[in-house]
Amino acid sequence: MNRTGLPFLLPMLVLSLAGFLVPLALLGVFSLVDTSGAPTLDNYRRLFADPFILSVLVDTLGLGAKVVALTTLIALPIVLLYWHAGPRMRRVIVFLTLLPMLTSNVVRTFAWIVILGRLGPISQAMVELGFFPAPRSLLFNETALVVVLAQIELPLLVLPVIAVMTRSDGSLAAAAATLGAGPWRVLSTILLPMMAPGILAGWVLVFAGATTSYVTQSVIGGARLIYLPQFVYREVGVLFQWPSAAAAAFVLLAATSVVMLAMTAASRHPRLAGHA
C-alpha cells in the first residue's frame, strides 16, 4: 500500500474496528460464557443438540440458495439484453436496475404485501381468470419470500455482471459466431465464462443479503417461517438469552461465511476468473 494513502484510510479502519470488529469480539465473548459469566461451550452444544435450531439453520442456508438460484435465472436474461443493446437501451437497463435501490428495503417489502395480499392484483387476476375460486393471500410461504428476496437482491447480481461484461472483449462472441458457433454455444463457451467472475461476486452478495434479511423474512414470511435472524432476535428481544443469541449469531456468521468463502475461492479459480 502507498504510505501516503494510509491517513485517508485511517478513519474507515477506525470505524470498522470500533463499529464492527470490537462488537463482534464482544459477541464472541458473550457466546462463550453462561448467564453468570463463567466460561462454557454449552451455548454452542445446546444449539447443535437441538434439532429445531439445526433445522432453522438448514432452512436459512436453503433460503439463501433458493434466492441465489431464482435471482440468477432473472438476472442473466437482463444482462444478455444489456450485452446486445445499444447505448441508450443500456442506460435504461442500468437505470431500471438501480431504481428499486433508491427506495429502502422496508418500503419495497411493504409494497410486496400489497402485491401478494388477498386483495392484491395477483390474487384478483387469478380469480378473474378462474384459477382461484376466491381471493387468496399469497403471503406467508417460502415461495413468496424467495420471489420477494430475489426482486430485492436482483441489482446485487445484475450490476457486478454488467460491470464485468463491459470490461470484456465483445469481439470474442462475434468471432465465435463468424466461425459457425450457434447462439447457445456462444452463450455457454464465450459469454457465461466471461460473466463468471461477476456472477460469483453477485452470488456472494445475494446470498449474504437473503440469509440475513430480518425485515423481509419476518414481514413476508410471517412468524411461521423461522430463520436464524428471527431466532436471534427472539433470543435477545423476547427471551433475553444473550449468550444463546450470541452463539446463534456466530453460527449464522460462520455458516454464511463458509458459503461465501467457497464462492470467493471459486471466483479466483483461473478458469472462472477468465484467465484460462
Binding site: F52, R118, L119, A223, R224, L225, G237, V238, W242
Partner: protein
C-alpha cells in the same frame, strides 16, 4: 495533476476534531436538558410527541420520544444497564416486574409530581404513575366476519377459518389472550398445555401468525385478516384511519393492563423524567389523549370519560375486567415463547 500536500499534523488535528463534532461519542447526541423517553410505536409515539412533548418543553426540557415495544425496551436496558439508552420507560406489569427484579428501574418520589394526588388510587405505584389502562379484547372487521362471541368462537365457528391472526408470547396483548384461552380449555395462568394442543390442531385454519401487533394491524388494514387480539387503543387507531373495525369484549372478561412510566436507573436527567411524568398525568394531556385517534382511558380523576371511550367500555364491562397474574406468567413466559415457535413452525 498536482496534489495538495496534507501534513500528518493537519490530519491529526482533523481526527481530533471529530469528538468535538459529536461523531465519535454516541452519548453526546443527547442534548443537555433533554429526556429520552421510550414510547410504544405508532399511535403512542405520535400522540406523546404531539401532546406530551410540548407540555414538557414548556418546562424547559426537550422530550425525545423513542419508539420501542416494552419487551424491546427491556432488552436494550439489559444490553447496557450502566448507561441506559432511555431515561424514561413505558411498560406494563409484565415488563415492570422483570425490570424491577433486575434493578433496571427506580422507585419514584411522588412528592416531586404535582399531579400525583389527582391520580386514581390504583394508578399510583411505587415505580411510577400509570398513565392509562389498556383494555384488551377482540378486534374484527364487521364487513368480513360476524361479531365474535368470545375466544372459543374463533376456534369453533367455521366463519372465522382463515380470518384470524395470532401472535406469540412476546406480546402482552397476545399473552393475556392466550392465558384466557388456556382457562377456557382447562388450563391456567401457569398451564398452557391446552393452548398448544389447540394451536397444533387448529393451525391449518389460522389466517396468519404475525411477529408483532403492528404487523397484525398492517394485515388487518390490507384485508389479509379480519380478526386479531387488540386493545381498545388499536381499534381506535384503525377506526381513525377509516378501516372498518370494531371491538368485542370476550364473554370470559376483558384482560386489562395498566401502562406505567418508569424512571430508568442511571437516567441522565431524572429531574426531566419527573417533569415528563407530571405532564403525562396532567389533566391537560390526559383529556387530549382520551380523544380519537388514541382514546386512552385517563387515570387522572379530573378527566371525565369522553363518549368515544364509553362506547368501548361500559360501566358494567369495567367491573368484569380481568387482571392477569404477571408473576405467574413471567415465570413461564420464556418457555412458552420457545414452545410456541416449535408448534407453529411450518
Amino acid at each position: 495533476m498536482t496534489s495538495r500536500p496534507f501534513s500528518r499534523r493537519q490530519f491529526t488535528a482533523g481526527l481530533a476534531s471529530l469528538p468535538a463534532l459529536g461523531l465519535l461519542s454516541p452519548g453526546s447526541v443527547r442534548a443537555a436538558g433533554s429526556v429520552v423517553a421510550a414510547s410504544f410505536p405508532n399511535a403512542w409515539e405520535d400522540a406523546y410527541r404531539k401532546i406530551v412533548a410540548p407540555l414538557v418543553q414548556a418546562q424547559g426540557t426537550e422530550l425525545v420520544v423513542a419508539p420501542a415495544l416494552a419487551q424491546d425496551q427491556l432488552a436494550k436496558l439489559l444490553a447496557n444497564p450502566s448507561k441506559p439508552p432511555f431515561d424514561a420507560l413505558l411498560m406494563s406489569p409484565g415488563q415492570t416486574a422483570e425490570a424491577a427484579s433486575r434493578g433496571l428501574i427506580e422507585k419514584i418520589d411522588p412528592s416531586r409530581l404535582k399531579n400525583w394526588g389527582k391520580l386514581a388510587a390504583a394508578a399510583r405505584t411505587e415505580y411510577g404513575p400509570n398513565v392509562t389502562v389498556e383494555i384488551n379484547g377482540i378486534a374484527y372487521n364487521p364487513s368480513l366476519v360476524p361479531k365474535p362471541a368470545g375466544y372459543k368462537d374463533l376456534f369453533e365457528n367455521r366463519a372465522y377459518d382463515g380470518k384470524v391472526a395470532w401472535i406469540g408470547f412476546g406480546s402482552n396483548t397476545a399473552t393475556m389472550a392466550w392465558v384466557e384461552i388456556a382457562k377456557l380449555y382447562g388450563g391456567s395462568e401457569d398451564d398452557m398445555a391446552p393452548v398448544f394442543k389447540l394451536l397444533a390442531s387448529h393451525l391449518p385454519k389460522i389466517g396468519a401468525i404475525a411477529n408483532n401487533g403492528s404487523q397484525q394491524m398492517t394485515m388487518f388494514q390490507q384485508g389479509e385478516i379480519a380478526v386479531f387480539m387488540a386493545s381498545t387503543g388499536n381499534v381506535a387507531r384503525l377506526k381513525s384511519l377509516g378501516v372498518p373495525c370494531e371491538f368485542v369484549h370476550p364473554a370470559s372478561g376483558s384482560p386489562s393492563v395498566p401502562v406505567t412510566i418508569h424512571l430508568a436507573k442511571g437516567a441522565a436527567n431524572p429531574q426531566g423524567v419527573y417533569q415528563y411524568m407530571d405532564a403525562a398525568i396532567s389533566a391537560d394531556a390526559q383529556a387530549k389523549l382520551a380523544l380519537p385517534p388514541t382514546e386512552m382511558i385517563p387515570t387522572n380523576a379530573d378527566v371525565p370519560l369522553p363518549p368515544g371511550i364509553k362506547a368501548f367500555v361500559s360501566d358494567e364491562q369495567m367491573k368484569t375486567l380481568v387482571y392477569p397474574d404477571w408473576a405467574k406468567i413471567n415465570a413461564k413466559r420464556a418457555a412458552w415463547t420457545a414452545e410456541f415457535d416449535r408448534v407453529v413452525r411450518k
